[in-house]
């Protein structure tokens, strides 16, 4: 396994007028390529700030961030946008799909910002939708899809540029137990079959049990970092009572 992410002495201070609010207080963490990490912590513990920096949406006040061995803490907004586009996929709690835009076009969105041809876009987006089990739904609007399906579209969008990292911020927060498991199952498959590194932020400890490493934040620092044998979502799903497959309205 090679090193994917290394952060050193990471400090992030927010300035609210005169008041300085430190969100990260010199934390460090190394993540190997192919890991499935659950990040936990109370709100205000700094995990969101950490995720924003890891996701290249924000820049640290101090410290270094190495992504694939390159120091990217000093990059410009445009260079960060390029890394987000090529290397990182985001999955959010509230799905964050473009409404009134078909599933297919939502998935195509990242490709649209790296100059892919329209044929390549279409083909790659269809592949990604198939990968999350949504073929046949590509022309549905988000409002015509269930929560689980919407989150699958979001995962397909995260996948479409074949990133090395997927950042999932409470991806099951708005979903019921079974759908949550299905989503986690997709993440596990992507992690195990496609060797995509997954960082999952959650405050549900039972969701965290599907990850192979648990990192706990408190007050802007990592207070616990331990490996744990992951449960397999596929097995748990098989043991659940079968219900009628959800249908779109």
């Amino acid at each position: 396994m090679s090193e994917l992410i290394r952060v050193e002495h990471l400090v992030k201070i927010y300035y609210l007028g005169e008041v300085q609010v430190p969100a990260l207080k010199g934390m460090g963490l190394t993540i190997q390529s192919g890991e499935f990490i659950a990040i936990m912590g109370a709100s205000g513990s700094g995990k969101s700030t950490f995720m924003n920096i890891i996701g290249c949406l924000d820049r640290p006040t101090q410290g270094n961030y190495f992504f694939e061995s390159a120091n990217i803490s000093g990059l410009s907004r445009d260079e960060l946008a390029r890394i987000r586009n090529k290397k990182i996929g985001f999955v959010f709690q509230s799905f964050n799909l473009l409404s009134r835009t078909s599933a297919l076009e939502n998935v195509e969105l990242p490709l649209f910002y790296n100059g892919s041809s329209s044929q390549a876009r279409r083909q790659r987006a269809m592949e990604a939708l198939t990968e999350v089990g949504l073929n046949g739904r590509e022309h549905h609007l988000p409002s015509q899809l269930s929560g689980g399906q919407q989150q699958r579209v979001a995962i397909a969008r995260a996948l479409v540029n074949r990133p090395s990292l997927i950042l999932a911020d409470e991806p099951t927060g708005n979903l019921d137990t079974r759908t949550s498991l299905e989503i986690i199952d997709i993440f596990q498959k992507l992690n195990q079959e496609s060797r995509i590194t997954i960082i999952l932020v959650t405050h549900e400890s039972d969701i965290a049990t599907y990850a192979s490493r648990h990192v706990v934040f408190r007050d802007g620092k990592v207070i616990q970092d331990s490996p744990s044998p992951p449960r397999q979502a596929a097995q748990d799903l098989a043991q659940m009572p079968t219900i009628i497959e959800e249908t779109s309205p």
Binding site: L57, D58, D78, A81, R84, K86, L109, F112, Y113
Partner: protein, 408 residues
């Protein structure tokens, strides 16, 4: 980020709020339409004045006989013939700024053909007078120097006179009687239309100067003429010609330094240039007023784009998260503003052309739509779109992706 895709997104975003986009566009539509219609009206007026200047003859000076004074009473211009045919010849040969000078006799006469008669203005002059006025014949031949030298009984008819006496018949070669003298019609002058003050320029008969002198205008003042038409060598030499003529005539008429001129020099082109200038000013003024509505339309675009950016903050956040750079977002909103303004521009263009046609049709007001005015107002609309779209677009581009994603 490719252009056709961005364009598609822009159209899609705008068609989501058809009512809003339509109303926003209305500002630009009215603006562009007004600019085009106003410029058309202004240029129409200008073109009409230019046409009249051209019909008067260019760089034209008219020298009129002076005022007679008897016992302190001045009798007004032309009350005493002071100008002579020799004056005209001297002006033509001695004033360097003068191209042509033609002595002109003028009188109202009755022209008779068969059982038809018509009273009209008759000019006795030299062929130069027609050159000065740039007035060719449509049928037959014009006056020649030989006609003048031989005092031939020939005449040229204006179109109005020809119509009234001959109707459909060809007057060339026919004999008309003017003051009982038979004149052969050698030609019919081309149509000049009305002057600015509504006088029919075609209601006229031209005869050779010498013939007019002998037969038509009496022998009270032999060798005298009522006026001399002069054409300067160019628009720049008009003033010079005026000075040279005054100087020459004062000298020829032996006027002492303390005596008033016994003639008047009238500069007709100058008067018309003033009219043309004011038409131009009117055109610019109308266009400027109309542009203000275009500007207001631009502010409407800015307003709506700002609302749109706020409404779509989350969308902007999503786009940024998946890799859109600031400039991608900037282009997207800028193109949206541009689509609004250019679509409005095209509709406004059609509306403006239609309005001008309607104005010229229903008010009989001449309008002139030049391609330049169309291009100008259309590109002005585009400029307004870019100018007023830039601030909202830049605001969108500078959003913080984290904040934007969290926006509810």
């Amino acid at each position: 980020m490719n252009f056709p895709m961005t364009l598609r997104i822009a159209f899609k975003a705008l068609s989501r709020n058809k009512m809003r986009s339509g109303l926003t566009m209305l500002g630009i539509i009215i603006g562009v339409g007004a600019v085009i219609a106003m410029i058309a009206i202004g240029s129409g007026a200008k073109a009409r004045i230019q046409e009249q200047i051209a019909s008067m003859g260019s760089n034209l000076l008219i020298i009129l006989s002076g005022s007679a004074t008897s016992g302190g009473v001045r009798h007004g211009s032309g009350s005493i013939p002071t100008l002579t045919i020799e004056d005209a010849k001297a002006i033509a040969s001695e004033c360097s700024a003068v191209k042509y000078a033609a002595p002109v006799l003028r009188g109202i006469t009755q022209v008779v053909f068969g059982n038809q008669n018509w009273s009209t203005v008759t000019y006795g002059t030299t062929p130069e007078a027609l050159l000065i006025r740039d007035w060719p014949v449509t049928r037959g031949r014009s006056l020649t120097q030989a006609d003048v030298d031989g005092a031939m009984k020939v005449c040229l008819l204006g179109q109005t006179v020809a119509d009234n006496l001959f109707g459909e018949m060809d007057p060339v070669g026919q004999i008309v009687r003017i003051k009982k003298f038979p004149f052969t019609v050698t030609g019919v002058l081309s149509t000049k239309g009305q002057t600015t003050w509504g006088q029919d320029q075609d209601d006229v008969v031209y005869v050779p100067l010498t013939t007019g002198q002998r037969l038509l205008f009496g022998k009270q003042f032999p060798g005298m003429v009522g006026s001399i038409s002069v054409q300067a060598t160019g628009p720049d030499t008009l003033k010079l010609a005026e000075e040279q003529i005054s100087q020459l005539l004062r000298q020829r008429h032996r006027l002492r330094a303390n005596q008033d001129n016994d003639f008047f020099v009238r500069n007709l082109t100058e008067a018309f240039s003033t009219a043309e200038e004011s038409a131009k000013v009117m055109s610019i003024l109308l266009g400027a007023i109309a542009s203000i509505s275009l500007l207001v339309g631009g502010i409407g675009i800015m307003n709506i784009m700002l609302v749109s950016v706020t409404e779509r903050t989350r969308e902007i956040g999503i786009r940024m998260a998946v890799g859109a750079r600031g400039r991608d977002i900037l282009y997207q909103f800028l193109i949206e503003a541009l689509v609004l303004s250019l679509t409005g521009g095209i509709i406004g263009l059609l509306l403006g052309v239609g309005a001008s046609q309607l104005i010229s049709y229903s008010f009989k007001w001449p309008t002139l739509i030049s391609p330049q005015s169309l291009l100008l107002s259309f590109s002005f609309a585009g400029g307004v779109g870019i100018f007023f779209g830039f601030y909202p677009a830049r605001k969108a581009a500078q959003l913080d992706p984290i904040e934007a994603l969290r926006y509810e």
